[in-house]
Every structure is written in C-alpha cells, then in structure tokens.
C-alpha cells in the first residue's frame, strides 16, 4: 500500500489493519505510518541542526534510513512479526545514513532481536523490545552523549515498561510512549548545553519522536501528510532572511497583521495559505497574529481576501521581492573608487573594518584599503601587499587600531619604499588625519600635519559587551551596551541611546564643533537617524553627520572634533 492511500483511510479502516496483538502486517502498517509522518516533518527536523558539521540533514538521513527499512518489507506478506522485524532491521542497517540513521538502525536491530521468532506482539513484548532496542543503541558507543536520540529511546523504553504494567491496551501504551518521547525531546536542551545555546531541541530525538507519533496519529485517525503548524513568537519571526531566497514565480511578499475571530482555526488557515503561496510563517504576540507569505503576481491579493474572512486586518505590507533582490544585489557590492596615485605623489593605505568606512576613506583620497579591525587583525603580508604594487614609493599607513600598528610597522620595515606609519588607534583618528592629507605635498609635510590631527579628535565607540567584567571601575554585564571614549570604558547601560549620550558628556563634546556617527552593519538607519535627532536637540550648536560605516561588532563609531 502506498503512503498516499494510507492517509486516506478512515479511523475504523485503520484499526482493521492492525489486528491485536500486533502481527507482522500490523507492524508493517505502523512502520509506514511512522515513516510518512517523519517525512512530512522532515524539514522541521532538518532545521534543528546546530553543528556546522555536514550531519546537518538529520531529518533527511532518518527518512532515508526508514525508507530503506520499509523497502525491505514493502513486498513482504508475512504475518510473523519476528520475521518482519528482522527484515526491517536488515533494511535499516543497509540504508543507515548519517549518525542518527545508524543509531536508528541499532534501535531496530535491538527491537527485532527481542521479537525473535514470536508470531505476534502484545504490550509486554513491546516493552521488552523497546528495552532491548535501548540496550543495543547504547552499546554502539563508548561515551554516550545524553540529550540526544539515545536519551529519547531510553525514556521511551522506561515509559513502555511502566505502561505495560498498567494496561494491556496497545493504543494506550503507544499514547504514553509518544507523550514521554515528547517530554524527553523537550528536555534535551537541559542535558546538552550546545542545544540550549542554539535554542533548539535535539534533531535525532525529534525524528524518533516523529516515528512513534506517526504510528499513534495513524491509529488516532489524524492526518499524516500535514506538518505540525507551530506558532512562533513575533520576536522570533525571521523575515529578513526569508527574503534571501525567492522561489521562481513567487514574486511578492505579503505580510498581514490581524486579530483573529474567536472561531479562528490555525490549521485550516495554514492549509488555505499553503494553497496560495510558499515561505509561510505565522507569528503571534499579544493577541495579534502576523502572517508572512510569498505569492505569485496574480495571487498577491488572495492572502488579504482570505485573511479578511478570518479576522480583522490591522496592517498589510506588500513588497515586490524580485525588484528588491535586484536592488539588494547592486547595493551589496558598490564599487569603491580608490584614489589613483601618480608616481611622485604620496599614497595612503588605510585599515578599515567595514565597507562603508572603506568608501569614506576612498572618498578622502586613500589609495589602498586593508580589511581589518578589532577582531580581525590583518597580517603583515596583507599590509605589505596593499602598497607594494602602488606606482609610488612614498607611502603612509593608517592602522586605525592599536593592535594593528605593530604589523603595519613590520610591513614598513620589509620594503624598499619609503613607508611611514601614523599610529592612529581608531577610525576617527584615521579619518581626521585623512582630512589633512594633500596628495602632492612632501611626505614629511603630510606626516607632520596628519600626526597633529590625531590629537584633535575624540573617539567614541559603542559596542556590546561579550562577557561580564569590571574595568575602570565600571561594572559590565554580558550583553550590555558599552561606550568607550578613546579606548577607555565610560559606561555600560541597556541601550545604545543612553550609552551615546553619556559618552558625549565624557568626551566633553561642548568644547568641540562637530559630531560624526559611523553606524555599523548591525545598526538600522532609522535608529541612527532618531539618535542623531536626539543629539541635535542636546547639542543644537554642533554639526552632526551620519555615515554608513558597515563595521562589524561596533554599532557606532563616533568622531568628535
């Protein structure tokens, strides 16, 4: 029987297929149901991957293993459950894919061994078989890691033993098992820290749960071909990344906020949406639902019409994805026009942590850029390579970071060119030095005026603390926003705005004229503009400029001159 037919059966017909105690053909049907349900939820399991190890397709691996197991019994008409289980184990072993697949095959192997030559299986035997399955699974590894599929089969076996003493009804035991497996999967992050860190449950354990859940859903008359619909909190809806992948034909993105009627049925709603488009996400927060979908051009109003029937629409956002992708592509790699130096002129090499800052440096007359910053110091070789091919032998390097000055000096000593390092320790120092740069002036002249400029600028940096610590008498909690003034810690607060305000006070901004904000890759322009307005109201006589810096880690780099 093919999978599609199985899901069409009514609950009565389903129960007829499983005669109790379960025989070979009954187990075959259950295994098929488990496999279909696992396949339906394959993507959900795949998404639980935490390791960047290529074992990341756990769901797919487990489906393929189960498919191989089922192929082995598909044509078998045996009523003997022991024989059938042995065939399943053989198929699973031969087709085991990935780590979780191998463990799954061991589970089947233990299960089959316990059934041995028994013709049928009652709940007592089921419990014994699951216990043997667990034993076999654990024997396969020297140092079992808890919080994985191993823990889940252990909890399943324990529950089966308890339930088998309580009742002789097969479906009741199966229901208990599914409940225990579900709880066990939910507990995996407590046992395995890496899962907790990634905010997921174990993928292999979830896959195993799906198999048992599928068997139970089948007997319960539930559908097997519709994935579990989960509502995620609004804050976790990741609408930025869904943009990255536009399926062909799905040109429009529609996002609708609405308050559903009391009769609202999420599963039905989801079903209807899946007929209209793809990349469906439904989020909920404080009674308001947000729906996200990608649809083709001619269906762009359909989700709105449909949602109208389900509740009151608050807001609709629609975007043409194809047009946006084009824009994004061109925006991502704008060309940086570096200054072309002539043989007799002086060239400046600047180290820059972000594309926006590189562009600013280029516009100020920098001839070469070296990628680098606080957490990614360029090597001596990289610095050397940046100016070796320039058509001039007079070079000035702006390291723009304390940790890079040394590498820049090393590079300077390794060339025949006349290279001078101006020890700028921050981006703002580098930029204000560049303001004084005159390409056709003498090298010494440039150096003198640029060094002078360094001291005329105050540098502020806003970033997030990566660990809890106490420096310069300031208590910092991990995750807090911290402000640095000329490299010294000024304050730590919960938000960027306060940090910036306190920083400006510490830098004695009143004595200066101009404030320039360079915002990093994690900062939104709207936020920066709002912040700039706030600063303008505090310092009405100052000139305030906002530039895209594109630097990582630092939300803001601030120059005060």
């Amino acid at each position: 029987m093919s999978g599609v037919e199985l899901t069409k059966l009514s609950p009565q017909e389903r129960h007829k297929l499983i005669s109790l105690p379960v025989n070979g053909q009954g187990l075959k049907t259950l295994v098929e149901a488990g496999m279909i349900w696992l396949k339906t939820n394959q993507q959900i399991v795949n998404n639980l991957n935490v390791f960047p190890v290529p074992d990341g397709d756990t769901g797919t691996n487990m489906v393929l293993t189960m498919q191989a197991a089922f192929d082995e019994i598909d044509q078998s008409g045996t009523k003997n459950i022991g024989q059938l289980a042995r065939a399943i184990a053989r198929g699973a072993l031969m087709g085991a894919r990935g780590n979780s697949g191998v463990i799954l095959s061991q589970i089947w192997r233990g299960f089959a061994r316990a059934l041995d030559d028994q013709p049928t299986m009652d709940v007592k035997l089921l419990a014994e078989a699951l216990l043997e399955a667990k034993e076999t699974a654990y024997k396969g590894v020297v140092r079992p890691v808890e919080g994985t599929i191993l823990t889940v089969i252990k909890d399943i076996a324990a529950q089966a033993e308890v339930s088998a003493q309580r009742t002789t009804v097969f479906t009741e035991v199966l229901a208990d098992i599914v409940e225990a497996a579900d709880a066990s999967v939910e507990r995996t992050p407590d046992l395995l820290p890496i899962l907790k860190k990634a905010g997921v449950v174990d993928s292999g354990g979830k896959g195993l749960l799906c198999i048992f859940e599928g068997m139970w859903r089948f007997l319960n008359g539930d559908s097997l071909d519709k994935a579990i619909t989960e509502v995620i909190p609004l804050s976790e809806m990741d609408l930025e990344d869904t943009m990255e992948s536009v399926e062909p034909g799905q040109d429009y993105e529609v996002v609708i906020d609405f308050t559903p009627e009391s009769t609202f049925d999420l599963e039905n709603y989801y079903d209807e949406l899946s007929k209209i488009g793809t990349s469906i996400q439904v989020g909920e927060g404080e009674g308001i639902y947000r729906m996200h979908i990608h649809v083709p051009l001619d269906k762009r109003y359909t989700p709105i019409d449909h949602t109208m029937t389900q509740g009151i629409i608050q807001k609709v956002m629609m975007e043409n994805l194809v047009a946006q992708m084009e824009e994004k592509k061109t925006k991502k790699h704008p060309k940086i026009n570096l200054a072309q130096v002539q043989p007799e002129e002086t060239a400046v090499v600047a180290v820059s942590p972000g594309s926006g800052l590189s562009r600013i440096f280029a516009s100020l007359g920098v001839a070469a850029i070296v990628q680098g910053g606080q957490t990614m110091n360029p090597s001596i070789k990289e610095v050397l390579a940046s100016f070796e091919n320039l058509p001039t032998d007079k070079v000035i390097i702006l390291p723009n970071n304390k940790n890079i000055i040394m590498a820049a000096k090393e590079a300077a000593s390794m060339t025949v060119k006349k290279v001078h390092v101006i020890p700028t320790i921050s981006i703002s120092q580098g930029i204000s030095a560049m303001f004084r740069f005159i390409p056709d002036a003498e090298l010494e002249e440039n150096i003198a005026s640029m060094v002078e400029a360094i001291d005329e600028v105050e540098t502020g940096e806003i970033t997030t603390a990566t660990r809890s610590v106490e420096i310069d008498n300031v208590q910092v909690q991990k995750g807090q926003v911290i402000a640095l003034h000329n490299g010294k810690l000024v304050t730590s607060t919960s938000n960027i705005d306060t940090a910036t305000e306190e920083l400006l006070i510490a830098a004695k901004t009143c004595d200066y004229e101009r404030i320039t904000l360079f915002y990093g890759e994690d900062m939104k322009l709207i936020h920066v503009n709002a912040l700039a307005d706030k600063i303008r109201s505090i310092y009405p006589d100052h000139e305030i400029e906002v530039h895209e810096g594109g630097q990582p880690h630092y939300q803001l780099i601030i120059a005060i001159e």
Binding site: F51, P52, V53, P54, D55, R86, A89, L93, M94, G95, A96, R97, G98, N99, G101, V102, I103, S105, Q106, R109, A112, R113, T136, K139, G140, V141, V142, R143, V145, S379, M406, A407, E410
Partner: protein, 121 residues
C-alpha cells in the same frame, strides 16, 4: 619535528604538540556513534599501551604544508553500517580539530581494525 607552528604572532610563535591534536581527535572519535574503542597502530604500540597510557594511542597525526593528516585506528560495533559511521567520524573529527586548533585538516584516514560483537542476531 613533533610540533606544528600554528601562526605567527607579533610577540612570538604558537607551537602545538602532535599529542594535543591527537587527544582532540581521540576524544571526538570516542564520542562518535558506532565506535567502541581505539586500536593499536602496530605491535610496538600494543605493547607500549600495556605499560603507559598514551594520548596518541590509536591516533596518528602528521602534517604537510597544506594541513593536518590524521589517521584513526578504531574498533566498531558489529551490526552497524561502517560507511555511515566512518563518515560521521571524519566529519566530527575534522570539525572539532579545526575549531579548537585552527589549522586546516587535509586528510583523515579511518582504519577499522576490528569489530566487537556484543550480540549475534
């Protein structure tokens, strides 16, 4: 040479003993599903193992200009699919070594030296 130079730092060099790399490889091999133990590389090592615990037991680490070369000698549980198991070992050893040491792993050879039979089917 039993030390591998990792990277040049402005204050000096970082040298990593092969034993250090071997123990990381060993650890993640033993945590891989299907592996029931490591095996001696040769007769001398099997005698040696009787006398003294060695981090390099069952693991061989070498390197060339392109990266690390790791050989693993393992025992596998009977009745498991060896191809899948060895694939997982290679992936997790490569991941763990590269993550902790920061040197690229160029090649990992897994030698299955024997099977342990806990249950006959």
């Amino acid at each position: 040479m039993s030390e591998i130079e990792n990277n040049y730092n402005k204050l000096g060099s970082i040298l990593i003993q092969k034993e250090a790399i071997a123990s990381i490889a060993r650890q993640s091999t033993l945590q891989s599903y299907g592996v029931v133990g490591l095996a001696p590389k040769n007769l001398i090592e099997s005698i040696h193992q009787l006398l003294k615990k060695d981090a390099k037991y069952g693991v061989e680490v070498d390197f060339d200009h392109e990266g690390l070369l790791i050989d693993l000698y393992i025992m596998v549980e009977y009745g498991t699919r060896i191809k899948s198991i060895t694939n997982s070992i290679v992936n997790s050893v490569k991941y763990n070594v590269e993550k902790t040491i920061g040197l690229p792993v160029r090649r990992i050879n897994v030698h299955v030296r024997g099977l342990r039979i806990s249950n006959m089917d």
